[in-house]
Each structure stands twice: as C-alpha cells, then as structure tokens.
Symmetry: C2
Subunit: 416 residues, 2 copies
C-alpha cells in the first residue's frame, strides 16, 4: 500500500526547496517548449472556443491582432472558426498567465528557473491597469501598449537582467514582501517596488535614451502588479517541482479559464479535474455589480497552490480595503488553510503569527474530509470582452473537483 | 483658567493636519535659518563639548574635517577647545538629524515644507550603514562617502525633485509605508523603496552618466533608511505646527544628544526639560554588548513625537527580529501608547488594529498620572567615537523630565 503521508512530505519538501530565480526575458517562441505561431496559450484547464467566456475570447482576438494574424475582431473570429488557431493551457507549456492568460508566440515572457531541481517556468509581462488584454480588452490602446511592452520595455528588462551579477531570487523577494504587507497574489505592492528598485540600477546601465528609461522605470514602479507575473512563474516552478510524486495527494495546479475551474494532483499525472467556475464575492468598482462579473478566471491561483495568496492573507491585512472583509477575516483565512495543507512553509513566514510558515501543499484528502475548499484571492473580470476589471474579491474552487480527484486517486492506487 | 483639553485638541489637530512635502535638496547654509560656517548643529538638547559623549564628539570632529576647517582629530579638538566652533541643537534651527545629527554649513539637506501651515523643516542626507558620521565615525572612508553624497548624489536628487510635477508628499508616503510593515523610525524598508521608486524616473531624466545614475539608484535603493531623514524632517514640520499652543500639555520635541534626553512642550515655549539619557535595551550585533553602548542619542524620536515609530509598532511586527521582542510585544507597545496620547491619527492607520489611527500627541499629564513614559525604537551607538552602530532596541525617556515639565506647566498657568 502506498504511503501517502511520506509521498506528500516528499512533494511539499520539493515545493519548498525549489528556488526560483528570474534569469531573463525572452520571446515566447524561442523559449516556451512547443510554442508555435498558430498556438495561443490560455489560463486554466483545456477549453474550446465555443465554451470560452467573454474575457478569454476578447484576449484571443487581441492576441491574433497583436500577432498580425488578424486585422480585426471579425477576421480573428473567422480564423478561429475556420480551425486555423490551436489552443492549449499555459500549464501544458510550463507557463502561467494572469486572468485570460493569453500568450502568443511573439510575446516577451519572463524566464524563471528553479535552480534546486532545474525545471523552468514562464509568464508574460504585466500590463498594469485599465484596458488590458488579460481582462479581454483589445482596442488599439491595448495593442499599442502591448507593442511598447514587447518592443521597448521587454528588451530593456532582458538586457538589464543579463547584466545582473546576482540574479533575481523570486523566493527571497517573496519572503521579504510577505513581511511588507503583501500576500503575493492580489497585493503585490511591496514586491513590485522591490522588483523595480532591484532593476533600476541595471536599467540605468543599459538604456541610452533618458525619456525611454524614465518611461520604463515609471511603468514598472507605478504598477503594483509588476511583479505578479514573475511571482506566478516562480510559483509554477515551485509547484511543478512537487508534481509527479507517486502516491501524493497534494494539489500541484489550480487554474481557471473563465468557464471551468481545474486542478491537478501530484500523484495523478496530467489529468485535470474540472467543474464550472464560480463568480467571486467581492468589492466592485463604482458602476459595476456581480451582475457584470465573469466566472473566476486566471492561472494566478498558482500562488495559493504554492502557499501564498489567500493562504498568506494574515500577512496582508491592508488587502481587505480592496477585496472586502476585515483584518480579522484575513487572519482567519490563513488559519483555516492550515487545516487542509501538509506543511508550514520554511521560507514564507507571517510576522503577526509569530513568524509561522504559510500553509503550504493542499491535500485533497483534507479538503474532502473537512469540507474546506482552498481560498483564493482574485481580480474580477467583466463577463463581456473588452470591458476589463470590475472588482476584486474572494472565491473557492467547487468542492466537486476535489471529490472527483480523490475518487480517481483511490482507483489508481487500488484503495477501493 | 486655561482649557487644557481644548488647547491639546488644537495642537494635535494642527499636528495631524500638517501636510509635509519634500520640495527639494539644498545646501544647509543657504536654507537653514541662522546657519553659518563655524556653527555645528547636533541632535538633542543643548550641550557643551565637555559633556558630549563619544559618538557626538566623533561626529563633530568628522564634520570639521569634512568642512575643511580641521585636518585631523587633533586640530579639530584644538579648534573646539579654543572656542572657535559654536554648537546648537538642530531643533533650534528647524532641523533634525539621526543619531549624532551633526549638520554643518556645506552639507546638503532635505527641505520639507508643511503646506498646511507654511513652516519648513530640514534634515541631512542618510549615509546608509557601516562606518558613518552619524554614529561618530570620521575615517577617510566616512568623509569620502559624505563628499560623494554631497557633490554627486545630493545635486542629482535636488535636480530630480526640481523636475517633479507632483512633489513628494511625505505624509502620504508614510500612510502607505505603515500599511507595508514600516513603523517609520527603525523600520523604513518600504518607505525607502517607495522613495527610490518615485525618484528613479526623475533621476533617469536628469543624469547623463549611466554609471553615476546606477550608483545613485543603487545607493538609495539598497539603503533601507534612505527615507528616514526626509521622514524625520516631515515629523519635525508636523510637530512644529503643534508647538506654541497656549495651554497645551502636548510634547512637541523629544530628542537626545547622547548624554541628555530632552523634551519641549507645546504650551511651554522654547524651554527644554532634560535628564540623563538611558542605555537602550535591545539586540546587539555579534561581538558587542550593552557594555559597549552609548546612552540614547538622536533626533529620530521626532517620529514618536509625531505618532509613528514605537507608537506605530503594531504596524511593523517584523521589526522584532531587529530590535528584540515578539509580535505581541509590538502590538502591546502601540496599545500602551494610546493611554498617554491625545488622539488617534487621521492619516496614519494600522491595518491589524482595524485601521485604527496611531496614538498621537503625547500628553505630559497622562504620562505623569499613569507613570507610563513614551516608548522609543532606536539604533544603539558604540560609546566610543569611530566605532559605529552596535545594535538596535527600545528605550524610554526618563520620567523625571515629564514631572519637571508638568510642574513648570502648573507654575506658568497658575495651577499651583
């Protein structure tokens, strides 16, 4: 009989020992395994065009326009309907993307390497606020910003990182930012300015044009989500290190495509367990309500999978002004997650809990037994393409996917 | 009979309504009222050479060498003993300086203006760690760093600030950094990187030499105390706004010169109440103990005077790794300070206390009645000149100065 606890200990130790380093910025087609010109990666579990929600469709249209494969919405939709575009989850290509997560071959991506185990992970660049592709917007403004990021900012950050003598240790950055009021998912204020401050002298050394340099530094420094994408890639690298441990019931992927919420389990190979994603509870921007909200979307739940995000909410009491609730709720969120996890993180600690490690390694046995689904902090997208973010809040995956995964586990390992 | 409560309400409201803006960097002799070439400003209440402690003497020697008035220790001491050097508290010249606080005529200083009431305050530039003048070191290394700060970094920051369309609002910066694990006195990690990130695009726009620019950005970004000096000037501007309110028992200055701890009170004019400063309790760097410690030193207690620092410890639980204690102690420190203060700050809030305002406006009546002296977080200097910082910890002013001030208050206002 398989020793589940031992397997879980191996898996969670690998997750915590993984040391993800941001080594560079490169073009997706050059570095992401299997990337090709007519392939679009997206957040969450696999999904076909017909079932895609508004924001994901909008991001698909925008990416095809960005790539120059389509001229406008109509031609993009025609291409997709003619079967000329392939879709695959980011997660199938060692990648993650926030919200729609759409990543195309020409896009610049962060390259993160887990130097403990050697695996790599990738994530696109963060666009900041307002009309952005990740929320399904694809106006000229959106595409122009993406082009500037890809042609101006991306190469500069790439060159800056290439000059760096000591690479950027994302795990160390997170350890620090969790002591500065971040939880690493919806609140990345401290992490993003640590990121910018570390990059600034390197950027100063590689850019000739003062105005361009000022623009890049302002873009990175003013965007409190600048570091979210490297952080997500780092969490992916950590979670992947824990995947594939025979007999382990720990969750190594949680991801949503705007229609379905999907999880994968360390000891259950590449199989997804999915169910319809729910609409988050939260605070809406003026003029919007839950009527406008799309179902939960994005790969950013990789943060909770790796022991931060909603799991580290006790470290980030100020976040409640953004996602609702009270500081006590934030504390309770973390305390509850200890119930369903295998370990306390050895590198991510929470000062206010006497430097206790964050709850890490979701055990599907505990989730099902206690009826406590993992907590997730999230942005909320408008359900129609092109509108953008309408709020931020809290959500949990549907319990059914953990039950289904547990049944599959029992079947695979002859426990039934 | 004087209405003390009404007077205190006026004073503390003025303190909280004060909006200190960092408007520039300038040379001390050009901006500090009364500054002249043979005058050295120092931290704390007035003191003559004979009673100065090691670190203050060291900083005096260093400043005379920096100014080119002396060649070495011997000639500096000879000048002082010949009566050629005048001394005055920073506080007598609208200024504040951390630790020894020695400020000379050629030094660059931050200029902070309280745009609510129009008063200004000044503070020197922060030198970072290691051998530094503020801890009484004066080797060539120290003097050379001061020269680089004065001749290279200072003018660049000055030019950058001059280009800024929206000036740097230090009160807003503090509101933000208190939500990011800072208390604004011993922990200024978040504030210093916010400061650097705000300056970076401005600096990019004014510097031609890439290496110089990278060096300045690295110096500011790597120094977790970069923002301490502008913060202290901001607190001085806020405290000064509350000074001189007839009938007020609120403390508007707390400062130490390494020998004496002194306070001034809003309704008691320019008179200092002093007593011997104590040695802080805290954590010592490897190789040092309380045997090595100088008595409490520095103007940085202006932060506690303005409602942050030890008064905001609950916002900064991670600080206990540096100054000793537990996160619960940090929470209790803030809770205790509510007992002796007049108000809860309208701009500085603590997420973990349900966004309660920090305890602000120390009332000498409450201090004496309850026997609770204000808490202070502080760095600890070696008692000999030239050694530097040996630790960090906690201290309180001697209770006698509050008793003496209360007696003086009763006498002045005919309450006895």
């Amino acid at each position: 009989m398989v020793k589940i606890d031992t397997a879980n200990e191996t898996a969670v130790s690998r997750m915590m020992e993984a040391r993800p380093i941001l080594t560079g910025v490169a073009t997706a087609r050059d570095v992401i395994p299997g990337m090709r010109d007519n392939l679009l990666l997206h957040a969450g579990p696999p999904i076909e065009w017909a079932r895609m929600s508004g924001p994901l469709r909008g991001a698909v249209i925008g990416a095809l326009i960005f790539e120059g494969l389509a001229q406008d919405e109509a031609s993009a939709v025609a291409m997709v309907e003619a079967g000329e575009v392939d879709f695959a989850p980011c997660h199938h290509h060692q990648s993650v993307g926030p919200m729609a997560g759409v990543t195309s071959a020409s896009m610049k991506v962060y390259v993160v390497e887990n130097i403990t185990h050697g695996n790599k992970a990738y994530s696109n660049l963060n666009e900041g606020y307002g009309k952005v592709l990740r929320y399904g917007a694809y106006s000229d403004e959106v595409i122009n910003k993406l082009r500037w990021m890809n042609e101006t900012m991306g190469p500069i950050v790439a060159e800056a990182l290439a000059q760096s003598e000591d690479s950027l240790d994302v795990r160390a950055l997170l350890s620090e930012s969790l002591h500065m009021g971040d939880e690493g998912h919806n609140r990345n204020k401290a992490g993003s300015i640590i990121f910018t401050v570390r990059l600034a002298p390197l950027i100063a050394g590689v850019v000739d044009d003062k105005d361009v340099e000022a623009e890049v530094l302002k873009f990175l420094g003013d965007n409190a989500l600048s570091v979210l994408n490297p952080v997500m890639a780092a969490c992916k690298a950590m979670a992947d290190a824990a995947h594939g441990v025979e007999g382990s019931t720990l969750v190594t992927t949680m991801a949503r495509n705007g229609t379905d919420f999907g999880v994968r389990v360390s000891g259950l190979g590449e199989r997804w367990f999915t169910a319809p994603a729910e609409v988050p509870d939260g605070l809406y921007f003026p003029g919007f309500s839950s009527e406008d909200a799309n179902a939960d979307i994005g790969d950013s739940t990789i943060t909770e999978t790796a022991g931060i995000g909603a799991f580290a909410m006790a470290a980030a009491p100020a976040i409640v002004t953004f996602i609702s609730g009270t500081p006590q709720d934030a504390l309770n969120a973390t305390l509850e997650m200890y119930e369903i996890t295998a370990a306390e993180h050895t590198h991510f600690t929470i000062p206010v809990l006497d430097f206790r490690g964050t709850p890490t390694g979701i055990d599907i046995r505990k989730v099902v037994e206690l009826g406590i689904a993992p907590r997730v902090n999230t942005g909320i997208a408008h359900k129609e393409a092109g509108v953008g973010q309408v709020g931020a809040g809290l959500v949990r995956p549907p319990m059914a996917i953990f039950e289904e995964a547990l049944v599959a586990f029992a079947e695979k390992y002859g426990l039934v």
